[in-house]
């Protein structure tokens, strides 16, 4: 179902139809909102107008809910649980399916109230696009802001802003433009905070009457843009993961007999061909791909996100949880990371406890070291926090018992994401998005080839006496210069990035990428933000100090002590001025 076909049309041909069907791609999008802002009505309308609802489903709700006899309350098409129908609210994520001529759609339909932030994050985690609803009669509310923030945090690229209930305000263009301008400013602020560029599209709709949902509206001739469905049908589909560097988390070793040993997994990003050089992380061993095996025969090439089986050209000790990566751009091996997290459990985060971190195909014990901040979603301000409670969003520094191979979430949504599990209750307590890999260390497995391989983090540490890291400094330029010089004086290998530099302002991801590369290379990146303030703020690994900038010597000492405190120096002599 879900395919609008005119059977009366004698030209319908099943062969043509099947040929077209097999060319269809897939777009996943999320929605968030409540019955009040017409979200369920909007989705019900989208399903109904694309003929994706069966007659018996329609009959079962006709005249029920808030609808007059013979009419349809579209919201009832989507609210699946009894409690939801009884209370008239959406509690949980529901998935819906429909398709148009060239594309199949999966909707993650989520509730919009604050207590369902975790459900919104769940829906956004796999979405390519998000529909954010604004009730035109009420204007921009905190709920729309929250949903846009979560979509941005989870790296949903396209935000479709549906300004709903236009019928209630007489289809007034001026009111729509006001909302558009106001919410655009909010989206700018969000994108700056999450460093995730958002592509936005505003559409004036009336879900109840169907205006600009599937069909363009005759009631709003001043709007000449596409309807919501037209937009969904033309957005670039499934984030292009095939162009990134090759990443392949090993799920399982297939060994049907002595002659075959294959590594089964789903390609997280990139493209692979027989003959490609790969590196196995975290053990850092190299090999090349001999075969790409599938039930349908060996492949000449496989791209993300296909599930395949790789056979390598030599015997290596590889198991579930290892990451096979392209040798030319391997992932980072980290034992400690910083991440944006959404807390999802009734029991708040407890910094004294051990959690389990599940990342790609492995689970490792994890120890939260510090809460860097909590984000207040009403103001987008970062506030200090002692803990994170259910539905809170914040930043966390986490230490791992074993090193894992990962990427930043901003670069790779698969190898940069993790969940935290409470080992006592087994609940999924948090969703995490890696924003920094803090200390790259090898596993200590050594072999003869190491002397000829890449220079390791340990070798750099041994030579320079410190590891890599990002030191954020904000304060008067003269004092930042003095700090840079004092670090140089004690032999710190550093590089300086001024955040006001043009390219960085235009590409907020760039800083993270550069800082990531430099950290892996063992350099200290000084991310300098010059201000006229009389305070100097310095931060690294989630630890920070704030000192009076007038007292130059004290401020410099405080920064050196901070570096010492976070274990930046491996030999203590250099920390002393």
């Amino acid at each position: 179902m879900g395919v609008a076909v005119d059977l009366e049309n004698s030209k319908f041909d099943i062969g043509d139809f099947l040929a077209r069907e097999r060319e269809k791609d897939l777009l996943r999008f999320s929605t968030a909102g409540s019955v009040d802002d017409g979200k369920s009505t909007l989705i019900g309308r989208l399903l109904y107008d694309t003929q994706s609802v069966y007659d018996d489903h329609v009959r079962s709700i006709e005249g029920k809910g808030t609808a007059a006899p013979g009419q349809i309350d579209f919201a009832l098409l989507t609210d699946g649980l009894r409690a939801e129908r009884e209370q008239g609210i959406t509690i949980d994520v529901a998935y819906r399916y429909f398709s148009t001529a060239h594309r199949k759609f999966i909707i993650a339909d989520t509730p919009g109230h604050e207590q369902y932030t975790r459900n919104m994050a769940t829906g956004a985690s796999t979405a390519d696009a998000a529909i954010v609803l604004i009730d035109a009669s009420k204007g921009v509310l905190v709920q729309s802001r929250r949903h846009a923030y979560i979509a941005s945090l989870l790296r949903v690229r396209h935000v479709l802003v549906a300004v709903n209930k236009m019928d209630l305000i007489g289809f007034d263009e001026a009111a729509f433009r006001t909302i558009e301008a106001e919410f655009s400013a909010v989206l700018d602020q969000i994108a700056a905070d999450t460093r995730s560029p958002l592509e936005r599209h505003f559409v004036p709709v009336s879900a109840l009457a169907g205006d600009n949902v599937v069909h363009r509206s005759p009631s709003m001739p001043w709007y000449t843009g596409p309807s919501l469905l037209e937009l969904l049908a033309t957005l670039p589909s499934a984030q292009d993961t095939r162009s990134g560097p090759f990443r392949f988390p090993v799920q399982r070793v297939l060994r049907p007999d002595r002659s075959f040993r294959g590594f089964a997994g789903q390609i997280a990003s990139g493209t692979i061909r027989p003959g490609d050089e790969v590196i196995v992380l975290p053990s850092n061993r190299s090999a090349s791909v001999e075969r790409i095996v599938s039930w349908d025969g060996d492949l000449d090439e496989a791209v993300a996100p296909l599930s395949v089986t790789l056979v390598l050209d030599r015997e290596l000790d590889i198991g579930r949880g290892d990451l096979i990566a392209t040798a030319s751009a391997p992932a980072t091996v980290a034992r400690s990371l910083r991440a944006a997290v959404v807390w999802m459990d009734r029991r708040p985060l407890d910094l004294s406890r051990r959690y389990l971190l599940k990342h790609s195909s492995q689970t490792v014990p994890a120890y939260p070291a510090s809460i860097d901040y909590r984000t207040d979603l009403a103001t987008l301000a970062r506030v200090p926090a002692q803990t994170l409670e259910m539905n809170d969003i914040g930043a966390l520094t986490v230490n791992l018992r074993r090193p894992i191979a990962l990427d930043l979430y901003g670069i790779n949504r698969n190898t940069g994401a993790f969940i935290l599990i409470d080992p006592e209750t087994n609940a999924t307590v948090a969703a995490g998005m890696v924003t920094a890999a803090l200390s790259a260390v090898s596993t200590g497995i050594e072999d003869d080839s190491a002397a000829w391989g890449r220079v390791t983090a340990e070798e750099r540490e041994a030579r320079w006496g410190h590891r890599g890291g990002v030191l954020e400094l904000s304060g008067p330029v003269a004092l930042i210069n003095a700090i840079e010089r004092s670090l140089f004086a004690v032999g710190v290998v550093s590089s300086r990035i001024d955040l006001s530099e043009g390219p960085l302002e235009r590409h907020p991801n760039l800083l993270e990428i550069i800082a990531g590369i430099q950290t892996r290379s063992g350099l200290l990146t000084l991310a300098a933000h010059t201000t006229e303030s009389s305070k100097l703020n310095a931060r690294i690994d989630g630890e920070q100090v704030s000192v009076n900038a007038e007292e130059n010597a004290r401020a410099i000492t405080a920064v050196h002590q901070l570096l010492h405190r976070v274990g930046f120096f491996i030999s203590s002599e250099k920390a002393a001025l």
């Binding site: 179902m1 097999r22 095996v293």
Partner: protein
Amino acid sequence: MPVVETEIQPLPAPSLRSGRLSHLQLLEAESIHILREVASEFERPVMLYSIGKDSSVMLRLAQKAFYPAPIPFPLLHIDTGFKFAEMLQFRDEYAKSIGAELLVWRNEPAIAAGTNPIVLDTKRCCGLLKTQALLDALRHYNFDAAFGGARRDEEKSRAKERIYSFRDSAGQWDPKNQRPELWNLYNARIHPGESIRVFPLSNWTEMDVWQYIHEEKIPVVDLYFARERPMYVRGDALLPIEQDFVRLPGEKPQMVKSRLRSLGCSPCTGAIRSDAETIPAIIAELISFRSSERAHRAIDHDQEGSMEIKKREGYF
């Protein structure tokens, strides 16, 4: 074994270089990832095999997931005693032909006591012959994860189901307290006695399933195809004559060209009038349908939200 004849030959697989992957390739990749995760993270997984089209697709995906190794878990069929004879024959032959280990479980005490949907109501009959039998089988074999072929597009409460659906030690579902499920990271942690139902086809629709069967040439039970079959005709409803107790006094079967749209227990599965003798014809028919595939199953219509209630009790 019934072999599927298709009048339209599948086209060559879309070239990867031509650009994007098709929705079926994406769905297949996702399902295979799920199958491999479960096989690797649980101690005793099992695949619920119902002989229907969804099970057939799930089984093919399992073959693909572990190729060239064999499927690393057994299949389990819950036999209510009311399945069509053709289904059972297909089940045994097909499992044998692909080298899968097949387990069959029946609630023998309830069957011996004459449980049927006429003596009891359909809800209690299902409770004993399906739900109870399933829970008994899972406990008997100590399975900690069970794959099911359910899809989210089937029914409203299924739309809220996770891919890993947590069940407590009584096998029950708590829809208001489900684990969040993000990205493709599934939480497989359970305490002893608890279990997970896994739905690798969650994101497939009925149309996807038929298209995949067509493209992959997956054998399915002949009951899906339109043939002249003896039926009790009651208004719009066609009832297979498989079980005697279905017959009303004086009722005589008529030959009707018909097929089954979903395969359940014969007393509760109505047939539809149809001329669809091939998979493409079934797909064409599907497009013209305006009612869902479960509309012909008596069991889902007993009361508002009856699927949710059954699932809470431990049903798939």
